[in-house]
Amino acid sequence: MSLLLPLRYLSGILKVYYSIVCLWNDTLRLITSRDYKMSQRMEVDGKTALKRLQNYLNNYYFRKIVYSIVTLFGISILIFIIARVLPGDPARLALGPRAPEDVVEQYRKLLRLDQPIYVQYYYWLIDVFHGRFGLSLVTFRDVLTDITEFLPATVELIIFTLIIDIIGAFSLGVLSGRKPNSIIDNSVRIFAYAGIAIPSFVWAIILQLVLANWLDLLPAYGRLSLGIEVKRITGLVTIDSLLSGNLIAFGDAVAHLIIPSLSLAIGCIAQEARILRANLIENVNKDYVLNMYAHGIPGSTIFFKYALKPSMIPTVTIMTLDMASMLGNAFLVELIFNWPGLSRYGITAMLRKDLNAIVGVVLVIGLAYTIASIIIDLVVSYLDPRVRHRR
């Protein structure tokens, strides 16, 4: 019975969630179902407030944002339950094995762990609407405070990784796609297989060893060298140093970013370069490219304009997804480089069964995926008019 109870909670809550989603869908469909042509005709007649509202609700991105809020809500329910259903006593873990039982019991009461899950969730939701995400059992601070402290370091790492990723993936993909099976292509292929096969934390150690230890070109770990300090404004050291006009600190921060971002980027670069290459090779033989050759347009124009643009679409999609997944997957790299980021925080939370922190971190990662999918949509619809006009 005790085992079935959480399952019953789970199914009950899922049912409620499902009906909420259905209700949302129906409402949205009801509001937006008017024929698009109809609203166009109304535009000629004059803009009514209702029509404007319809157009607004019909907007693809508006709908997307609404759906992602619903999704995040669902994620919060799911992860809230999973974190609590898993075996292990958070109160005991937080206080240590030697704490007396009555203290642990008291602590459990404080955290409302003695109450049913839906009650706990209800209180958690109320807290969220008040801007609190619950107490972390490890740091004894509000989870939101923790996240705002640790997130910028990871965001900075990811942004820098993305820059390296974009440059690397496109240049390698184009180089190997331009002349398939040439020496360059084959070297890129070997690099790509190594890049995909070797996990990022191994790259981290290799790069640390070679670039920092043997060649002594770059700092091995940390965000800033000892003795250099930057006032915290946004939490992104590079931006903060620029804002406060400290160029030495900026250079130092960038130098510290290179090895971690490179080791995170290599796997992504390898995968994306291969995908870009495959798409280029496929598109170069398409009739729409041959048609351009038939008209005597120079090969480089054809390649970089007519073949590259359609080939970029899958690569960009994967690139953005990689970016979101990095938020959760960067923990080993963050550990190796002593990087005070969110992944490391999240892993600690999981190991210590820090309930509220787990929910908070997962929600942030979920949010990152949502943002990533909106970015994908924006970029893909920029690249592909078919997608743009379908909306």
Partner: protein, 322 residues
């Protein structure tokens, strides 16, 4: 003689095997003449046209053969001379306009580039206004209304007929001497087919273009061409004046092909030809039609028949007429 093709071989290579598609194709085309190439799907018609412009896919190669255009061998031309021919002299209508127009660029982007590079070879760097005027002129030639809308559209926003008209417009820009039309009506509705056919016919007559019309629509070939080549599995089987070919087909393949065309006067549909195209990885050593031929002889299987002159303007590649 505008175009003369001799002993053209085209292979497609992949990692595991080589497809030996064209097997010594020969063809000639006089100035102002319109010829047709007929044959079933997969017999190498499109490959033949693509090799005339040297725009085969990357795995395509031409191990042997000669394509003499205007006295020059296209296969041996330098890049500059070749792009001059591609920009100004030969134009090609692709089979499927949806596939031949880049889906992620506006018609404007593609058409203006084609126009621009053609004008550049005439030593003139056009402004966008000139490009627009030129484009509208060509659009009115192909009876495309509302050039502003078409130019600003992406291919998927146009109807099939409009796409094919855009395709023809593009081909016309380059085709000042020779037009290659690769099944220009196959992917269209029947009602549109006739319009497009008439349009091509009118334009070809008006500009006195030499034309190679590739099709498996025999009726269309009959209407539009002076001479016809029959291509089967990468071999030219028969060549004759159009009327002669359709009234007195000599090669067994041509006979079966013509007989299998449905006619209004006959009951039901034609018989069709039994069997299927040979495997290009390992094609028959002799006549490529031998495995399907009702009159097959021993020598057909081992040696390929040469050109056999039946009468002055009728050539057939078959031992039956040896």
């Amino acid at each position: 003689m505008l175009l003369e093709i001799n002993d053209l071989h085209v292979y497609y290579k992949s990692y595991w095997y080589t497809l030996k598609v064209l097997n010594g194709v020969w063809l000639r085309l006089d100035r102002g003449e319109r010829i047709g190439v007929i044959g079933e799907s997969g017999s190498g018609k499109t490959t033949l046209l693509k090799s005339i412009l040297k725009i085969l896919p990357q795995n395509g190669m031409i191990p042997r053969g000669e394509i003499r255009y205007d006295g020059k061998d296209i296969l041996k031309l330098s890049g500059n001379e070749l792009s001059k021919i591609r920009r100004k002299e030969i134009g090609m209508i692709f089979q499927d306009p949806m596939a031949a127009l880049n889906p992620v660029f506006k018609i404007k982007d593609q058409l203006y580039d084609i126009l621009k590079y053609k004008m550049m070879i005439e030593g003139h760097n056009p402004s966008s206004k000139e490009l627009y005027e030129e484009a509208s002129k060509i659009f009115s030639d192909v009876r495309l209304p509302d050039p502003d809308r078409v130019l600003e559209s992406y291919p998927f926003q146009l109807s099939g007929g409009m796409r094919q008209r855009v395709m023809i417009a593009m081909a016309l820009i380059s085709a000042e001497k020779l037009l290659l039309a690769d099944e220009p009506t196959t992917n269209l509705d029947v009602t549109i087919q006739d319009q497009i056919l008439k349009l091509i016919h009118r334009l070809v007559m008006q500009k006195n273009l030499s034309t190679i019309l590739v099709s498996h629509a025999l009726g269309m070939v009959y209407q539009m061409t002076d001479r016809v080549y029959v291509l089967y599995a990468g071999d030219i089987m028969e060549e004759a004046r159009t009327r002669e070919l359709f009234s007195h087909p000599k090669h067994p393949y041509t006979q079966l092909l013509v007989a299998s065309t449905p006619r209004l006067s006959s009951v039901g549909v034609g018989e069709g030809i039994k069997g299927k195209l040979p495997d290009y990885r390992n094609p028959p050593a002799g006549c490529r039609f031998a495995p399907r031929c009702p009159y097959v002889m021993d020598k057909c299987i081992n040696t390929k028949p040469g050109k056999i002159q039946v009468n002055r303007e009728h050539v057939v590649s078959c031992y039956l007429y040896d």
